[in-house]
């Protein structure tokens, strides 16, 4: 039934957006991390969204929501800072900082929470539509 499918679609949207919020939270929490090694320092994480293919779900409506297909690490440049007094610094006295851009993360957070709210709206409307159908003839 189409109306029930709206719940599934909006639900998939909400769960994808919450994964995105989660990666943003992780990025912001780790924004000030430093490391003595270029490789092991925390890199900003980003979810990649993709549409769920209809054939994969056996759904015949041609529509089936969204999923997070993978979480990638940002390839942005890692900055280094000269801090020889830092116990984490490497043999040349450098520490490496994450490539998390706080401004970008905040913008991403707002975008994710708005998209989440949109899906909640859709779900509420679908609920009202379903309830009015149930009340038919009363």
């Amino acid at each position: 039934m189409s109306l029930n499918n709206i719940f599934n679609i909006a639900g998939s949207g909400m769960s994808s957006q919450s994964v995105r919020l989660n990666t943003t939270a992780s990025n912001i929490a780790n924004a000030e991390n430093i490391s003595g090694d270029k490789e092991s320092v925390y890199k900003a994480k980003r979810p990649v969204f993709s549409t769920i293919l209809e054939s994969a779900t056996g759904n015949n409506s041609g529509l089936s929501g969204v999923k997070v297909s993978q979480i990638i690490e940002s390839g942005g440049e890692v900055h280094k800072r000269y801090e020889p007094s830092n116990p984490l610094s490497d043999k040349d006295g450098y520490v490496y900082m994450t490539n998390v851009n706080l401004v970008e993360e905040m913008a991403d957070m707002i975008s994710a929470s708005r998209a989440y709210q949109n899906n909640v709206e859709v779900m509420n409307t679908a609920k009202q539509m379903l309830l009015s159908t149930l009340k038919l003839g009363q």
Binding site: I9, A10, G13, V48, L63, Q128, G137
Partner: protein, 134 residues
Amino acid sequence: MVLSMNLDKLFGVHAQAAQLRSYRGEVLANNIANSETPGYKSRDIDFKTIMKQAGSTESVSLNANNKAHFGSSNQSKLHNELLYRTPSQASLDGNTVDMDLEKAEFSKNAMSYQVSMTFLGGKIKGIMSAIRGE
């Protein structure tokens, strides 16, 4: 007097309209869910055209190739009618979902669905009072 009553005829176009509205709600919900998916193209159906077709064939027929099948409503046919929206401001990642437009259309669609439900409710109330004869 024999009262020959056909429920399909009684409900008229409203039953089909409600079915189509709920499908369109699904299409628009899908657009909203995919508002951040790279490369996703916004979809919609042409309500007028499909309604015209539904009106010409009188009633919606069910697809079934086996007697045991219920026939999965006409939804399997409906997704052949899916079109792509012409983007007004396509984003760099190839996504053509315009959130304001989709939200407006979704609300409009939900309102129209309620209208269909009101009409159907009225028809049911009418026939019920005729049956009761109060």
